[in-house]
Structures are given as structure tokens and as C-alpha cells.
């Protein structure tokens, strides 16, 4: 009897939840059907947390120009963007990296560029590091700043968490495997990386140039290291001379038309350049 009551309760609650959602979905559908203008419907974007704020702002402006369109942006990482675009859970995926070999079934549309640079604390006397030195530091073979011309202090290696495209790009550029990295601190996002390095004078990390440039201009105690003698600036990312950069992509299943096409064309147009530079990324044109 007791058992029966409890299971009845569970079934009723699940059923009422299902009913509620069904009701809400039907109202959403009819409101979409009633729209009469040329471009209507709902777009779902999902993926990279780096691209998400940009896509969200582009979506907001797109909604203003097409009042019968709704652009919903969800986050969760580049890998999620790829898988949601492939499974159809999202109309458009977002990834802050180029497509890999096994993702050639999908199509990437670049909307902006982002450069990655190595950052140190502003008080660190080291002015540049060679690729070999960076590699040795991240492999744990170089453990003290005095080995590369700095003060006598053990190096705090700040690394990105697994699954972050910044990590993948960094490892790819330096030709390392993620298992080789001997990290002291593992962080998630750019801002967290900047905060970690700016509060530890003996640390080394790597983040988006746009975010680092903004933080450095804002007085945060970090410094951006040049790479192969090329200064880490957004200008050098745009003109292609900075070696470590990545594309911010919208991902679709093959070529698309309709609403998705209109949105991607809009996101690639110069009409959104101010939004791109506002988030310290680099427009493609």
C-alpha cells in the first residue's frame, strides 16, 4: 500500500511535468505560425563559451532587425557545439577552433579571429621566451625563472582545463600532448587565467590576446610576450602575421539555407564589426 502510494505520486508528478511542457510548446508553436514577415522562426546556437557572448550580441541585433526571429544562444564548449550541430540539437554550433579531420562532414563559417599569447606577471623581468623554452616550462623540464634570465623563483605553470579549445590550439602549436604538461594550476576561462597570473608574480599562462590586451590596458598586472618576434596585438592577428591564432566559427551540417543562412551572412558582414572588437576579438574583414 505504502509502495503503491509513493509510485503513484512519482507517476503523477512526471505526468504533470510532461503536460505542462506540452502546453507550453504548443503555445510557442502557434505564436511562431502567426508571424507574417519574410524572415521568421527560431534559431538555436550552442557551443564554445568564447563565442557565446559574441553570438548572443549578434543575435540580439539580428532580432532587432527581424522582429519575428528568435535567436537562442546556449553555451557548453566547442566540443558540445560540434556534437550539437551534428545531432541537430542546435541549428548552428559554435567552436573557437578550426574543424578537425574527423569533422569534415560539417561546414565552418568563420565570423571572427582570436589570437592566443603567453602572459607573465608584469613584475617578471623576462621579456621573451623561445618556443623551446615555453615547451620546456610546460613539460616541467624548466622549473625556475633564473634558468631563463629571471629571478630565483619556482615557475607556476597555469594550464587550461581539458576540452578547452585554447588548450588544444596551444598544444597543437607547440607540438605537445596534454599528458606531457606538468601544470601547477588548471583554469577554465580567459578571465580566470588573467586573474591567476596577475596575482602570482612567478606564474606563466596563455589566454586570448584580445582579453589580455584589454586587461593590460586596464591596469591588471600582466604582460603579453611576443612570439617569433611578432608583437601580440589584435592588428597582427588580423593581418595574419601572429603565429598563434584561431578562428571563431559557426558550424552547420553542410551548406544551409533559409534562416540559418541569413543569420550566418549577417554574422559575417561588417555590420557586426563593432560587436566583435567590443569583445576584443578581431573581425575577418
Amino acid at each position: 500500500m505504502k509502495r503503491f502510494k509513493l509510485s503513484a505520486l512519482v507517476i503523477i508528478s512526471i505526468m504533470s511535468a510532461g503536460l505542462l511542457s506540452a502546453c507550453n510548446q504548443s503555445t510557442a508553436d502557434t505564436s511562431a505560425d502567426n508571424d507574417s514577415s519574410a524572415v521568421t522562426g527560431k534559431l538555436v546556437l550552442a557551443g564554445s563559451s568564447t563565442v557565446a557572448p559574441l553570438a548572443q550580441e549578434i543575435g540580439q541585433r539580428f532580432e532587432q532587425e527581424h522582429p519575428n526571429v528568435r535567436v537562442d544562444v546556449q553555451t557548453g564548449g566547442s566540443s558540445r557545439g560540434i556534437s550539437d550541430a551534428r545531432s541537430g540539437l542546435a541549428d548552428i554550433g559554435m567552436a573557437s577552433r578550426a574543424l578537425k579531420e574527423d569533422e569534415r562532414d560539417l561546414t565552418a563559417h568563420t565570423i571572427a579571429l582570436d589570437g592566443i599569447c603567453v602572459i607573465l606577471h608584469a613584475d617578471n623581468p623576462v621579456e621573451s621566451l623561445s618556443d623551446d623554452q615555453v615547451r620546456a616550462i610546460y613539460r616541467g623540464q624548466l622549473t625556475n625563472w633564473n634558468e631563463v634570465g629571471g629571478q630565483d623563483a619556482p615557475i607556476t605553470v597555469v594550464n587550461k582545463a581539458e576540452g578547452r579549445s585554447t588548450l588544444e590550439l596551444f598544444l597543437h602549436y607547440y607540438g605537445m600532448e596534454s599528458t606531457e604538461v606538468e601544470a601547477s594550476v588548471v583554469i577554465g576561462d580567459n578571465e580566470q587565467g588573467i586573474k591567476t597570473v596577475s596575482t602570482n608574480p612567478a606564474s606563466i599562462g596563455y589566454v586570448s590576446i584580445g582579453a589580455a590586451e584589454f586587461a593590460a590596458e586596464d591596469g591588471v598586472s600582466i604582460k603579453l610576450l611576443p612570439m617569433d618576434g611578432v608583437a601580440p596585438t589584435t592588428q597582427n592577428v588580423r593581418n595574419g602575421s601572429f603565429p598563434l591564432s584561431r578562428p571563431l566559427n559557426l558550424i552547420t551540417q553542410g551548406d544551409v539555407d533559409g534562416l540559418s543562412r541569413t543569420f550566418i551572412d549577417y554574422a559575417q558582414s561588417s555590420e557586426v564589426n563593432d560587436l566583435i572588437t567590443g569583445l576584443y576579438f578581431v573581425p575577418t574583414q
Partner: protein, 295 residues
């Protein structure tokens, strides 16, 4: 000789005991000051950084430029709706489960023991796991998508163990004599529950509710994958809506220059939490307790 030994021992012991007392007291004071200091520091930091150029329009305006401009109006609405869905699902289920657990636990019921163990395990599950579970069950399998409903129901699963445990304590704190007296007066079981046991257990229920609301409002990981990231004003429970905590996380971590508005949002969240605590405690004290007298 014996007497002498005792005297020496007691002489040696007294200052030691005094030192021990002193150290214990010092430790106790240091520990409690550290706790109070940490809370004070957090509140001071949030208020100092959040109050600078905060004006009321921040509370109603839509989000602009990823949160660096505009306000948090739609997010307050979304957060409120997520919380309502969460409470609407968790309070009835939680109350009924707590009553069952409190009523039948004394008899050493094996089913009750099993439920209790399941709740303890559930209480220790990290919130990101609830997020992924909610995403798989509500968003994908039940087809609710990224929506306030998915987020609220996921939070309900998350706070249920917490709420049930405190509510159960509340019901168990009702003296057994009340029950016997009630039956002796010929009260029905339902009447006894609603008129005596529920009002008497109200303080415990309030604690459970406050803990649940606090955990729900603070939740980020479980909501990113369920109620989502959309900053538009929600028009129904089927819409995706970003909660205040997700907004703080995103501003602090993903948006360069989002710091000042992250602090303002944090201030709003803290004030909201304190307000809800106050109201819940007040209702538990004055609202439910009076029902016994008006019997």
C-alpha cells in the same frame, strides 16, 4: 610522602590546565572570528564593489552588450520563475516524503531506510552531475529543450534531499503526545497533520526551505545545461532564461570587462537571498504557528 606527591602534582597541573583553557578559548575565538570575518569580508566586498553607481534602472532594463551594459531585468524574472518551478515541484514531493519518513522511521521499516540512504547519496552528488542528468532527461528525453521548466525541475531534484532531511527533522520534533492527544479527541489523521503537526514542524520546514532556496539561487553548473544562457525576457516556462548566478559566472569568466556588472548582479542576488530568508522565517513564525491557536 604521599601527601607531598599530590601537592607537587596539583601545583604542576594547575598552570597547565590554565594554559589549556586559555589556548582553547583563544582557538575558539580565532576560529569564530575567522568565520565571521570571512562572511563580513565577502559582504563588504560585494557591497563596496556593487553599490558604486548602482541605480534602480539596472533592476529592470534588458541585458545589453553581453551584460556589460543595460540591466538584469529579464534575468530577475527568469530566476524567479526557475525558483517557483523548483519549489512547486520539490515542496509537495518533499513534504509527503518527509511525512512518510518521519511517521514510519521508528518502526525500522526497510523501505524507509532504503529511501533515506538514497537521499544521502543524492545529497552528495555534485551539481554538474544534476545538470547533465537534467539536460539528458528534461531537455532531450522529455523534449522540454533549454527551458525554465527544465531548469526548475533539475533544481528540484537537486534540493529534494536537502529539503526532505530538514522537513523530516521538523516533523520528528513534534512531541508524540500531541498525536495521542489529537487521536483521543477524535481528530482525523488529515486534520491532525494540517492543524497540529504541520504548524508545529514549521520552523524545521522553514530551515529546509531556506537551505533549498539558497542552494537553488546559488546554482550555476546545473542551470547552464538546463535553463540555459538566453537573456531575453521569458514569455513562457518553455523559454530558455539565464539565472542571476549563471550571469555572474559568465560576466566574471567569459566577458572581458564584465567585472563591475558581475558585482552589481552579485549584490542583487545576496539582497534577494537575505530578503527570502527573512520572509520565510517570518511566515514560519507568525503565519503557520497561529493555526494551532485558532484551532
Amino acid at each position: 610522602m604521599l601527601e607531598g606527591q599530590v601537592t607537587i602534582a596539583s601545583i604542576h597541573e594547575r598552570p597547565r590546565a590554565g594554559l589549556l583553557d586559555f589556548l582553547t578559548a583563544l582557538g575558539g575565538w580565532t576560529a569564530s572570528l575567522t568565520v565571521a570575518g570571512a562572511i563580513g569580508w565577502i559582504l563588504f566586498d560585494v557591497f563596496a564593489q556593487g553599490l558604486s553607481n548602482l541605480d534602480w534602472r539596472f533592476l529592470i532594463e534588458p541585458v545589453q552588450r553581453s551584460g556589460r551594459a543595460g540591466g538584469i531585468g529579464p534575468l530577475i524574472v527568469s530566476t524567479g520563475l526557475i525558483l517557483l518551478v523548483c519549489l512547486a515541484a520539490s515542496v509537495p514531493i518533499g513534504l509527503l516524503s518527509a511525512i512518510l519518513l518521519a511517521e514510519f522511521s521508528a518502526q525500522g521499516n526497510r523501505f524507509v531506510a532504503w529511501v533515506r540512504r538514497a537521499l544521502d547519496v543524492l545529497a552528495g552528488v555534485p551539481s554538474i552531475v544534476f545538470g547533465l542528468f537534467g539536460n539528458a532527461l528534461f531537455c532531450i528525453y522529455l523534449g522540454m529543450g533549454f527551458s525554465i521548466l527544465s531548469g526548475g525541475l533539475t533544481l528540484a531534484c537537486m534540493v529534494l534531499p536537502l529539503f526532505i532531511r530538514s522537513a523530516e527533522e521538523g516533523f520528528r520534533s513534534v512531541p508524540g503526545e500531541y498525536r495521542l492527544a489529537g487521536f483521543a479527541l477524535g481528530m482525523s489523521r488529515a486534520r491532525l497533520l494540517f492543524r497540529i503537526q504541520l504548524p508545529e514542524a514549521a520552523p524545521g520546514l522553514a530551515v529546509g526551505l531556506i537551505l533549498s532556496v539558497g542552494r537553488a539561487l546559488a546554482e550555476t553548473a546545473a542551470l547552464i545545461f538546463t535553463s540555459g544562457y538566453v537573456t531575453r525576457m521569458p514569455s513562457s516556462l518553455a523559454d530558455s532564461g539565464r539565472s542571476l548566478s549563471v550571469h555572474i559566472y559568465d560576466l566574471a569568466m567569459n566577458v572581458p570587462g564584465g567585472g563591475p556588472n558581475a558585482y552589481k548582479t552579485a549584490l542583487v542576488l545576496v539582497v534577494l537571498l537575505v530578503f527570502i530568508n527573512f520572509v520565510t522565517t517570518w511566515i514560519a513564525k507568525h503565519g503557520l504557528h497561529k493555526r494551532i491557536l485558532s484551532l
